[in-house]
Amino acid sequence: MKGPLLIAAVVAAFAAVPLFVHSNVVFNFLVVTLLIALAGQGWNIIGGYGGQYSFGHAAFFGTGAYVTAILQMRYGVNAWIGFVGGIAAGAAVGAIIGGLAFRAGLRSSYFALVTLAFAEVLRILASVAPITGAGVGILIKLDLRPQSFQFQSRAVFYLVILALVAASLAIAQTLERSRFGAWLIAVRENEDAAMALGVDATAVKLGAMVISAAVTAAAGCFYAQYFLFVDAGIAYGPWISIEALLTPIIGGAGTVFGPLVGALAVKALGEGAKLWTGDVPGLDLMIYGALLVIVVAFAPAGLVGTLANVRERAARRLRAPRKGRAEAARG
């Protein structure tokens, strides 16, 4: 099974969960996992396919979350429109950061540093500006009606984030099969060579950055609607920059399912560790940090990529003896 069919099958399997499970704890876990998978898919587009490692995707997540909340609470805008506004604002921030960084020719370490710095600037500004509620943050008023993007049942929230993740999988798949995606991957593999072949590297990276920022901003918008609270440490905090990067790297950067697989693996491990030792602060992140080093060292293609490699090798081994036999018969 491949391509759109595989996406449909995976989404259908996730969508069937509410038929069998009614526990809010499980839904909470799945919602947060899918939320991180969505943020990670955003990172995957510029980081995985484009090879530009951002250390500051919190800038987009936080902008999505804050703009959704501010439009609703300060300007009385409908939540769904606020949601779209949040995504647009995130994309705009992506265009600004990407435009500045790529035009200045910043690559690898320098790009990581400048994205990190932008996220920090936004975090500090959000913690002092009155419109963001400064140090207090913003509470979104409880209003459990579908037209305000709030639902009585956790299962509905779960289906909404699942739909967003499904859309992000489709975006990644479309990208992968498009000419634009081929340019992007060419830039990742060898920027100078791609430019020599006529690829406008700056424009391609900028385009990918905008899509990437929009997807991660969508995760931020959903966060605001789900938890109904945003503050600077949550929205622009380093945790989200790290998790958005961690999930595709662990799942498989530059693959359609990498972020989803990575998010499931990382969150399951984190929850497992908490069950095992009790909820001690730092433990889950400690495991994530170790996992990051281990994956880079031993499985640089991530879980999805490593699995594909293993399958390919097994297939080759299956083919090889048959060829041997044919040669023996001929000889």
């Binding site: 370490s109 500090i124 990067l245 602060p281 080093v293």
Partner: protein, 290 residues
């Protein structure tokens, strides 16, 4: 209100703070200059060193300045081992991998500290913590004056190591021409690890200088590391004099910015310098062309 005297005091205080920034940045720039990696674990290592200095005082009764003599070699060994056995083999020379590995180590170390010691903030009480020197127009904190002098002593020692020892010569050779150095029989993996060790030792000394006046918690180092990145970028990646001067400049900017704009926005002014320098002149004031 904005008399030159008050501004002068802000500048003096900024210079004293800036010296410690310079020392943290010195380790970072040394590692960048030779290994060409940005060590994202630098801040976490600083937090770890702060805890080490704290416990050296608490459990062994060691004065922080004396503890530096113990912690600098210990952290040199830690840095050496990290590069030789973890970062080097895991990253296999790929720049993106190095970013990820040092980031992973940063997350691991910081949260291991959080796990072990919780988020409580600790301070060391020393008889001289609040001693001041009266210059007639301003009182300067004695521990900060000591650290100011110590930073320049460390920079001098570092210069001596680089200029006068065989190891220093090997480090400079690898920084200039890695392949050539390898062909001349220099063990590059060893030199990389030595450099990382030296950079980490700088962090340990910085921690010992900070502990008398600063607080200790698992995130304490992070406050410095973004500033240290700024210093390194401003001074020029890999440039030692750049790190010293950049550190002093950033210290003064922060002090004046905090004085004129309030503490949070003073921080923003540093990051804005950082972004502007990165975008307009990524090789910094003293760096070789990027």
């Amino acid at each position: 209100m904005l008399s030159p005297l008050i501004l002068g005091i802000a500048v003096l205080n900024g210079l004293l703070t800036g010296a410690v920034y310079a020392l943290v940045a010195l380790g970072l720039t040394l590692i960048y200059g030779v290994l060409h990696i940005i060590n994202f674990a630098h801040g976490a290592l600083l937090s770890a060193a702060l805890f080490a200095a704290f416990f050296a005082h608490q459990k062994l009764g060691l004065d922080p300045y004396a503890a530096a003599l113990l912690l600098a070699p210990a952290f040199f060994a830690v840095g050496y081992a990290l590069q030789r056995f973890i970062i080097g083999p895991a990253a296999r020379g790929d720049e993106r991998n190095m970013l990820l590995v040092t980031l992973g180590l940063a997350v691991l170390i910081e949260n291991a500290l959080l796990y072990a010691f919780r988020a409580d903030t600790r301070t060391v009480d020393l008889p001289y913590s609040f001693k001041t020197l009266d210059l007639g127009f301003v009182f300067l904190a004695v521990p900060r004056l000591i650290s100011f002098a110590a930073v320049f002593a460390v920079a001098l020692a570092l210069w001596a190591i680089m200029a006068l020892t065989d190891t220093g010569k090997a480090i400079r050779a690898v920084a200039r021409e890695k392949l050539g150095a390898e062909l001349a029989g220099i063990d590059v993996a060893h030199v990389y690890a030595m450099t990382f060790g030296l950079g980490t030792a700088c962090v340990a000394i910085a921690a010992c200088l900070l502990v008398p006046t600063y607080y200790v918690n698992p995130g304490a180092g992070n406050a410095f590391v973004l500033i240290a990145f700024t210093v390194v970028v401003l001074g020029g990646m890999g440039s030692v004099p750049g790190a010293l001067i950049g550190g002093l400049i950033i210290g003064v900017v922060e002090s004046l910015g905090g004085f004129l704009l309030g503490e949070s926005l003073g921080q923003v002014s540093i990051f804005l310098i950082f972004i502007v320098v990165l975008l307009l002149r990524p090789r910094g004031l003293f760096g070789a062309s990027a």
